[in-house]
Structure formats: C-alpha cells, structure tokens
C-alpha cells in the first residue's frame, strides 16, 4: 500500500525530526522546484516532497481523468499520503494551484494540518463580476495553445535537474532527469482544471493557521488576489515579498526562506 502510494506520487522523504514540512509544487512543475528551500529546513523538519499525479515522476497511469477533474482528487491523495506515513501536525507548503489543493485537504481533514504556507495562491484565475482574477477564457485558450506547441520542447529542452543533490545544486545541471516533462494530454487537462476552477468558497471553510507569501509583482496571482485570499481565510497572515514573478522560492529563495522562518518561529 505504502509502496504503491510512494510510486504514485513519487514521494521523497528525508530527515528524522518529528515535525513535518510537506511540500507541494504548482502547475507545470514538480518537486524539484523546492530544492533551494528544503536544505534550510531539513535539520529541524522531516521533509516530505511529492509530485502531483500527472506531474514530474508520478505514476502517469494513475491519472484518472474523472478523479482529477477537480482539485479534490489531488487533495485526497495528500490526505492518503499523510495517513499512510502516519504524519501529524503537518506544516504544508504549497505553491500556486496547490495552495487550493492544500486548502481542500485541510478543510476535509483539519486535524492533519498545523499550518499552511501558500506561495502565490489564487482561488480563481478567470475574472468574474467584480472579482478580478486576471484572466479571461480566451487567455486560458492561448495557454492551451502554447502548451500544445511546446510539446516537443518539453520532451528535450527542459534542463535536467534531479533531487538528491541538495547540498550541491550546481551538479544538478549535469544530471539527466526530467523537469516539467509532463504528458501533454495530462498537462492540458490539469491546465483546464487549474485555471478554470473556482475555490473562492472553500477559503471561508478553512480554519488552519495560514501564511500567504505574495510576490509584489506576480502576473499569475496579483497582489489583489493575494489580498482576497487573506481576507477570506479566518486565520491568515499576508506577507508581500519585494520580488518579481510567480515563483519567489526560485527567483528569491532567501527572502522566501526568511518569510517562512519568521512565520514558523
């Protein structure tokens, strides 16, 4: 059972601490995106990394289109992994769409999670009445086209990086691995589920302590969206980083680490 789960979500675990940090990557990436962050927490936390089913090195065959037609499918996977590994008081760090996956998991099983750290969350990308998500259906169609036309690019160009070289990240470039080499059909489906979804109502049901890390300039999840998330969670705190881009944990790892440490202290 455990072995199957580990294969299904390509679960990586290291560290012996009883405190757990559970990292979930966002759309288009995999667990490699945490490699600037995790070395700074591995001494005081047990680190758990996963690839969402359909991403990275997860078991592609486990991608059931019905189950993953909603983010709930991924949330259930996270709950199952926590149960199977007997994890408690988990601090879950989730980027982008996974912030909503973590929200759904914590609403369903609040006792499992002690804290949620969201990086660049958005409960809805499409504009809706007086809500400004930043995108229209047409923009998402363009994204899908870009996905389509980069299918070939994905299979060869994305540079190789793998885990296991946390202390010497410069080695990573030499290693053969896949980054963002997702099955195009699954990537398209996951893009639709991610960018066409609406989880605004789920935020209100969340009672877990939450930190929102917001990049000052983020084309995907704007600062207004970050404030919306903060205003709709009962127990949350918003930290705006002086950074640009949707992945501050990659472009400004030190600022991100500092924000997380300040929050956890």
């Amino acid at each position: 059972m455990l072995e199957k789960l580990i294969k299904k979500n390509n679960v990586t675990i290291y560290g012996t601490s009883s405190k757990v940090m559970f990292f979930v990557h966002g759309y288009g990436c995999d667990q490699n995106m945490w490699r600037f962050i995790t070395p700074h927490f591995k001494d005081s936390y047990k680190i758990v990394l996963i690839d969402l089913v359909g991403s990275g090195k997860s078991d592609e065959n486990a991608y059931n289109y019905d189950k993953y037609n909603s983010l709930k499918g991924h949330a259930d996977d996270i709950i199952n992994i926590c149960d199977a590994l007997n994890l408690q008081d988990v601090c879950i760090v989730a980027h982008s769409v996974s912030a909503m996956i973590a929200t759904l998991a914590a609403v369903k099983r609040p006792v499992l999670f002690k804290k949620i750290i969201m990086i660049g969350p958005s409960p809805r990308y499409i504009n809706d009445a007086d809500y400004f998500g930043g995108f229209s259906q047409k923009d998402i169609d363009e994204l899908l086209e870009t996905l389509d036309s980069n299918y070939l690019g994905w299979s060869s160009a994305m540079a190789p990086v793998i885990m296991g070289n946390l202390d010497r990240p410069e080695l990573a470039a030499e290693l053969e691995a896949s980054f963002c080499q997702n099955n195009p059909e699954i990537a398209t489906h996951f893009a639709k589920v991610t960018f066409l979804g609406d989880n605004r109502n789920d935020l209100k049901k969340l009672s877990t302590d939450t930190l929102i890390i917001q990049s000052k300039t983020d084309a995907i999840a704007s600062i207004e969206v970050g404030q919306f998330v903060n205003n709709n969670i009962s127990n949350s705190k918003l930290v705006v980083l002086e950074t640009i881009g949707h992945c501050p944990h990659l472009s400004a790892p030190n600022k991100t680490i500092e924000a997380i440490k300040n929050y956890l202290m």
Binding site: G26, Y27, G28, C29, N32, M33, R35, S96, G134, F135, S136, K138, D139, I140, D141, E142, L143, L144, E145, T146, L147, D148, S149, N150, L152, G153, S156, A157, M158, A159, P160, V161, E170, A172, A173, F179, C180, F195, T217, D218, A219, I220, I244, G245, H246, C247, L250, S251
Partner: protein
C-alpha cells in the same frame, strides 16, 4: 572583429534582461522583428511584455522555473506581439549569466522568427490530428469487428451444439425405427400366427392354450410399448433438471430397492465414490442408471461363483467416470456388441431377460451429453464405463 557590429547584424533577435525582466540591451534584428524603436524597448519593456496573457501563464509556470533551476532553456515556442498588435511565432533560447558568487546578473535570450516553419508545423499537427482521428476510428471499427467475431463464434458454438443435439436425435430415431421394425414386428407376427392357429383349431382345450399364449404375447407387447413411450419421454425432454447428486446417497437407495434380489443372489456389492463423491446431474436419471446397471449385474451373475459387484467413480481428463464391474456371465462383444444397447436385445437365455434396461440407460446418459462403453469377456465378467458428462 567588431563585436558590436556583429551583434547588431546578427541574423536573429538578441536581447538581455535583468533578473526582474527589464530589457537592458537588444540588437537591431530584435527591434526589427518587434517593430519597436530602441528607445521604446531599452529600460522600458520586459520579456513578458511581448507575450499574451496565456503566454505569460506559460512563462511564469513553466519557462521561468525551468530557466531558474537549470540556468538555460532552449526551443520554447511563444507568440510575440509586435508594436501594433500583430503576432508572430518565435523560438526562444535563454541563458542566465551569473557572477562568480552565483548571483544572477542578467539573462541573454535569442529569438528566432519561425513564421514559415510554424505554418509547416501546423500542417503537420493537422495531419497528426487527422491521423489520430483515423486511428481512433479504426480502433472503434476494430472493436466492433471483434465483438461481431465474438458473436459469430458464439453462434457457431450454439449451432454446433444444436447440430450435436440433432445428430443425437437422429441416432435415437433410427434406433427407434429399428426397434419399431424388429421388436414390435416379432410379437405382432407371433400374434398373427397364433390368430390363424386359433381360427383353424376346433379343439377347445387347444384354443384355450393358444389364447393364453396370445395373452402372454399381448402383455409383452404392452410392456415393450410402455418402455418405448418411457424412452421417448427421456429423448423429448429438453429442459433436464440438474441436481447436486451424492453418489453414496443414490447408491444406498438403489441397494434398498434391490434388497431382496441381493439377498437371494448372495451377491457381494461394494462401492467407492471417494474420487468424485458428487456431481451435477439429473437425479432421476442417476437413480435409473444405477438401478439398471446393478440389477443387470445381479441378474446375469455366474451361477457357479459368488457374484462380486463393484461401483466406483474416477476423474479422467476432467470428466467424472462411473465404473461398474462384475464377475458375471459376460457378453461376447464380437457377436453382440453392436446390439448391446438396442431395445429388447437379450444375450442370455435367462428367465428374467427383457433387454430393456441398457437401452434406457444409454438414452439417459446421452440425453445429458455423456457416453457409455463396455468391456466384457464371456464367463469372466463385464465392466461398464460411463462418461457422465462431457467436459466443455
């Protein structure tokens, strides 16, 4: 070489940007491609300003993380927007330039216009989609064909079964015709002769004797007719009821029915059904088969020795076989083998012989799809082997 000249005359677009995306240098080709003046771009525009919103999502979620993680990225297809709004497809390679301490200073990117190649690519994509569609349709047709083939094989199997059934029926009919022509004709011609005698004879005593003979023949004729009707019932029965039959139970019942005969004959009857103790079989047939075989063995026991009769089951090739062995009179199979299972064929000048049982037995066995064979030696004994049910 004048590198500045080289940079500006290079036949594809170049630009350099800061970690925050702001473009700090661009070559002539890039400016021509995008239709902007140098002043409009340098220090003012970012990489993502040339992308549509959909392209930006891809840039932020896939392109930027990959570039950050590995320091370089190649052959990513974006649609760039020219001044004025026209779009054109490009391929982008980017590399991060860092100082010795690893701090990211700027990013160099090269931009290839692929408008013509893109058209070709789109045609290829279209063909690929079309091929996929055809492949899907073929798969569907194939599936349909397979399901039809399955149906046909099923129908074929049913036909074969039906054919088997017809063949059986045919055999039974021809056997029945044989019986009708021989076994009924004999007593009828007997009766005709007796009738003539009776008419011609005037002696009352003789007449009475002849009439008693007529009575005997009529009784036999009636018996034969009843048995024929009984066997027709078996043959005509299409919906045979199957039951869970325990050999030991049915055999005990048979022994009880033949209690007196067994006592009279002092026969030693034994059985062992361990190897196949039960079977799904019509219970009435099983009772009748065991009764016929056992009563035959008792009836045709050898008078000079104690009758030993043994019933057992075996499983051979997945089939349950019933084996009945005796040390009785035996039958000369060379002489009578072909007639063994006919109606009213008797092979012994024995007072009880009626030659009914084996015909019934065979009919019942075959009605369930089984078969029967016999091994025998005169004055040594007989063994009946019955394959109760053919395995399918």
């Amino acid at each position: 070489m004048d590198y500045k000249e080289f940079y500006n005359t290079f036949p594809s677009g170049f630009f350099s940007s800061l970690p925050n995306g702001t473009i700090i240098e661009a070559n002539k080709n890039f400016l021509e491609l995008t239709n902007y003046s140098r002043e409009e771009v340098i220090g003012k525009k970012k990489f993502t300003d040339f992308l549509s919103l959909g392209g930006k999502i891809y840039f932020e979620n896939v392109f930027a993380p990959a570039l950050k993680l590995s320091g370089a990225i190649e052959e990513v297809n974006f649609n760039f927007t020219k001044k004025g709004g026209t779009k054109f497809p490009v391929l982008v390679n980017s590399v991060e330039i860092k100082d010795i301490s690893g701090t990211h200073l700027y990013t160099h990117s090269v931009v290839f216009n692929i408008a013509q190649r893109k058209q070709y690519e789109q045609e290829l994509l279209k063909s690929k989609k079309y091929a996929n569609e055809i492949s899907n349709r073929l798969t569907a047709v194939n599936k349909e064909l397979r399901s039809r083939t399955k149906l046909i094989s099923k129908q074929k199997l049913q036909l074969e079964e039906f054919n088997q059934h017809l063949e059986n029926k045919n055999r039974q009919l021809s056997s029945f015709a044989h019986i009708a022509s021989h076994n009924l004709r004999a007593p009828v011609s007997n009766l005709l002769v007796l009738k003539d005698f009776y008419k011609e004879n005037t002696d009352l005593k003789d007449k009475a004797m002849l009439f008693s003979k007529v009575e005997i023949v009529i009784d036999r004729l009636n018996e034969t007719l009843n048995e024929l009707i009984e066997s027709l019932k078996i043959q005509g029965n299409k919906n045979i009821m199957y039951n869970a039959v325990t050999f030991d139970t049915v055999f005990a019942k048979t022994l009880a029915i033949l209690d007196i005969q067994i006592l009279d004959s002092k026969a030693v009857v034994t059985s062992n059904f361990c190897e196949a103790p039960t079977i799904e079989y019509p219970k009435l047939y099983m009772e009748s088969i065991l009764l016929n075989l056992l009563s035959n063995s008792i009836r045709y026991r050898a008078p000079d020795r104690i009758a030993q009769i043994h019933f057992r089951t075996e499983i051979i090739n997945n089939e349950i076989i019933l084996i009945a062995t005796d040390n009785g009179l035996g039958i000369d199979l060379k002489k009578y083998g072909h007639k063994l299972f006919g109606l009213n064929n008797t092979f012994h000048r024995h007072p009880d012989s009626k030659g009914v049982g084996l015909f019934m037995t065979k009919t019942q066995i075959e009605a369930v799809g089984g078969s029967v064979t016999v091994e025998s030696e005169v004055d040594k004994g007989t063994t009946f082997k019955i394959i109760l049910k053919k395995h399918k």
